[in-house]
Symmetry: C2
Subunit: 408 residues, 2 copies
C-alpha cells in the first residue's frame, strides 16, 4: 500500500502563504466595514481632536492666574460665562474664567481647566482652591492623531475601535479586501442530505456541511453549497470545475475511505496546475487532509470524520481565508493558558490536538481532556477548545501548563 | 456637589441578572441557528451512529476467527465481497470476511475490522497477520449518542460542533431565544453626524455610534439607530419612549458632561419603573455609567468618552445582551494570561481596565500597557485587549502575571 506523504503543520501554513494571495478590493461603507481587512493605508485627513477640549466639568482658565492658589489662599477669578457645547468659545482675558463642560472647547486665552470640585462659585466670582498646570485637564488639538499621520496599515482588521477612529476622522467609505466565497461540496455514497427524516441502513446524514458552513461564515467568508457529489468521476469533476470558476476556494468534505480520498486527489490534479501541494498533515485528528493549488485557487480536501474535518478547517481553513482576505500577520495568536488535569500521551513527530473542557479552577484555568474517537461529534460539542501537543513532545503530564485554542 | 454613588462591577452584573430575563423564543432553521442560544432542551431522537461502523479501511471479521494470528502464523479468511457505502452489508459466516471502507456498515456476523495494513490479499483469500479484539476499529450504534439521551441544555450556545451534532440527529428546526434588538441614541450638542465632511469649531463627529453598533452586532444583537438626540428634554423623552416600545434594550451614548448625564438620568426615571438602578460603576475608564430598568426593559447610559463607552459596552452591554439572549452562564470566561512588561499604578476600591498590546514574548505572552487618556480612541485601536486590575489591588509590577480580555 502507498504510504501517505505527510507535511508538518508549520510547513502547510508556509505553503498556503506562498501559494495564495489576497483577493481584489472593494469600497464599502463604514457601517459594513467591521471585521474586514484594510486594502489601503489610512492617513489622517485632519487633527483629532480638532480643537483643545476639556476632559472634565470645570472652569477654563489661564494656569498662571491660579499659581499659588490653595485652600487657605484661594485665587479669585471673574466668571464671564459658559462655553456652549458644539459652539465656538468666547475668549477670556487676564483674571477671567469660563464654565466649560466635559468635551467642550477651550476658549482663547485659556490653557487649562479647574475642576468644579476645586472651586466655590458666588455670582460671577469663582474662588480657586488649588493651582493648575498649563495643559491640565485638557486634551490638545491633534493629541490623539495629527493630520497626515499614518493611522492603519494595509491588512489591519477593522474592529470596533478602528471603526470609531475612522468615523472620528470622517472616513465613511473604505477600501477593504473582498470576502472570499467558498464553494462547498460533500462527498461519499453513505451520505444523505441532513434534512432527511429517515436514514437507511449504512447511511448517515451529511452533518459536516452545516457545521463547516457556520465556521466559514464566522471566519468572514461567503458560502455556496453545492450539495453531495455522487462518486462518479465525470460528474464529480464537472461540478467541481464549474464551482471553482464561481468561487475563490473549493472545499471537499467527506470521503473518509482511502478510495474516496484518491478520488478527491485525482479531481484536484485535473482542476488546474500545479495541483496537489499537501497529501497529508502530521496532525491528529485530521491527518488525511489534501490541499491543492488549482490555477491559483486553493482547493481543500477535508477528512470525513466530523471532528477531524472541523479541526482542520478551524486551523488551516482559517489560514486560507485570512490569506485570501488580505489579513496582516498578527503579532499574537489568542490562545488560553491552562493547567492540564491529567496525563495525555502523544506520538513524537505528530502534532496532537486534544479536545478539552475549560473551567476556572481555583487560581488558573484547568484544561480537562475529553477522550473519544474522532468520529464522535459529541466530544467536540462538549469541548471549549483544543489543546496543542507539539510534534516534539511525547505527551503531557497532569499539572503541566498548556495552550488552548478556543472554539466559539 | 452631589457625589456619584458608585456600584462594584460584580454587583452590577448581579443587578443585570436579577432584573432582566431572556426574551421569548423563535423557531429557526439549522442554517441560521449558529451562534444562537437554545430555548429548549434537546434530547436525541435516534442513536448516533445509527449502525455499527468501521473507523478504518479494512476487512470486517468475527474477532474470534483471528485469535492467535501473527506474522508467522497468519489466519486465513475467505473474502466474500465488499460493503458498499450507504448500503446494507451482506452477512458473513464463520471463517469469512468482507472488505469495508472507513465509515462503512459492519456486516451481520462481524464484530471488528482488520486494517488493510495487517493483511495480504490474494484472490478471495485474506491472510490476517495479527489478531483483533471484539469491537476493534468499530464505532458502535449509539456510541456517540443514545436515543433519548439529553444532548444540550436550554441556554447552550450553538457553535459549529453543536450545529453538526443537530444535523447528524436530523434536527433542522430549532427553538432559540429571540435576538435582542437595541435602540441606539447619541446625545450631546457638540456631536454631529459622522458622515459630515466639515466639522465646525467645538464640534466632533459622533464616532461612538458606528463603533458601538459594530460591537453590538458582534454580540448577536440587531440595531435600530435613532441618531443624535437634541438636548431638549421633551424631544429627548418622546423619542426615547417611542424607541423603547420598539426595542428590547435602549442605549444612550454621549453626554459626558455632568449636565448631560443628569439629563439622561432624568429621562431614565421617566421612561418606566423602577427606573435607575446604577448611577456609576467603580471602574476606570467608564465610571459615569447609568443603568435603569424601565418597565422590565434595560436602559444603559454610556459615558461619552469613546474608550470608556466601548469598555463599558464590551463588558456590561455584553452581559445584558447575553441575559436577554438566554445564554447559560459559562463555566469559563475566555481571557488570556500574560506577563506585564512595566509597572501600572491603580487606586484600591476601583477596578481598572488598562489597554494593552499583546505579543508572544519568548515563553509566555507579554502585555505591554498603552497609556493615554480615555478620550483617545487611538490607544484602543492600538490595543489587543484590556488588562484587569482588581479593586483590591494598589497596582501591578512589571513581571506579574495578568489576565487580558481580548478585543476582536
Amino acid at each position: 500500500m502507498k504510504l501517505m506523504k505527510v507535511t508538518e503543520p508549520e510547513a502547510v501554513i508556509e505553503i498556503i502563504v506562498k501559494n495564495f494571495s489576497s483577493l481584489d478590493y472593494e469600497e464599502v461603507k463604514l457601517e459594513s466595514a467591521g471585521s474586514r481587512f484594510l486594502a489601503e493605508m489610512i492617513t489622517a485627513p485632519e487633527d483629532v481632536p480638532g480643537f483643545d477640549r476639556s476632559t472634565v466639568d470645570g472652569y477654563a482658565v489661564a494656569a498662571r492666574d491660579t499659581f499659588g492658589a490653595s485652600e487657605s489662599i484661594p485665587a479669585l477669578l471673574e466668571n464671564v460665562g459658559e462655553v456652549l457645547m458644539g459652539q465656538i468659545a468666547p475668549p477670556i482675558k487676564f483674571g477671567q474664567c469660563c464654565l466649560v463642560h466635559t468635551g467642550g472647547m477651550l476658549p482663547e486665552g485659556a490653557d487649562s481647566v479647574l475642576m468644579v470640585e476645586d472651586v466655590d462659585v458666588s455670582g460671577n466670582t469663582v474662588q480657586a482652591f488649588r493651582q493648575v498646570a498649563p495643559g491640565e485637564n485638557v486634551i490638545h488639538r491633534g493629541e490623539d492623531i495629527k493630520k497626515g499621520d499614518p493611522v492603519f496599515k494595509k491588512g489591519h482588521k477593522l474592529r470596533a475601535p478602528e471603526v470609531g477612529l475612522l468615523a472620528s476622522l470622517g472616513i465613511t467609505s473604505i477600501k477593504v479586501y473582498r470576502k472570499p466565497c467558498i464553494g462547498f461540496f460533500s462527498s461519499g455514497d453513505e451520505l444523505i442530505d441532513y434534512h432527511s427524516k429517515e436514514v437507511g441502513p449504512g447511511q448517515i446524514r451529511d452533518s459536516n456541511a452545516p457545521a463547516l458552513m457556520h465556521l466559514a461564515s464566522q471566519f468572514g467568508a461567503d458560502i455556496i453549497y453545492g450539495g453531495i457529489l455522487p462518486d462518479r468521476f465525470e460528474d464529480f469533476l464537472g461540478k467541481s470545475k464549474k464551482m471553482l470558476e464561481d468561487t475563490d476556494l473549493l472545499v471537499f468534505s467527506g470521503g473518509s475511505s482511502v478510495g474516496s480520498r484518491d478520488f478527491t486527489a485525482k479531481t484536484m490534479q485535473e482542476l488546474g496546475s500545479p495541483g496537489l501541494l499537501v497529501e497529508g498533515i502530521s496532525i491528529q485528528p485530521g491527518k488525511p487532509t489534501l490541499l491543492a493549488n488549482c490555477g491559483g485557487k486553493p482547493v481543500l480536501g477535508l477528512p470525513g470524520h466530523p471532528v477531524s474535518a472541523l479541526n482542520i478547517f478551524a486551523i488551516f481553513g482559517k489560514v486560507i481565508i485570512d490569506q485570501l482576505s488580505g489579513r496582516a500577520k498578527a503579532d499574537y495568536m489568542p490562545t488560553v493558558k491552562a493547567v492540564l488535569t491529567r496525563n495525555v500521551a502523544s506520538k513524537t513527530g505528530r502534532t496532537d490536538y486534544v479536545r478539552v473542557k475549560l473551567d476556572n479552577g481555583t487560581d488558573v484555568p484547568r484544561a480537562v481532556p475529553i477522550f473519544g474517537r474522532s468520529g464522535m461529534l459529541r466530544t467536540l460539542a462538549e469541548a471549549d477548545g483544543l489543546l496543542i501537543i507539539p510534534s516534539a513532545s511525547e505527551g503531557l503530564n497532569a499539572g503541566e501548563p498548556v495552550e488552548v485554542f478556543i472554539w466559539d
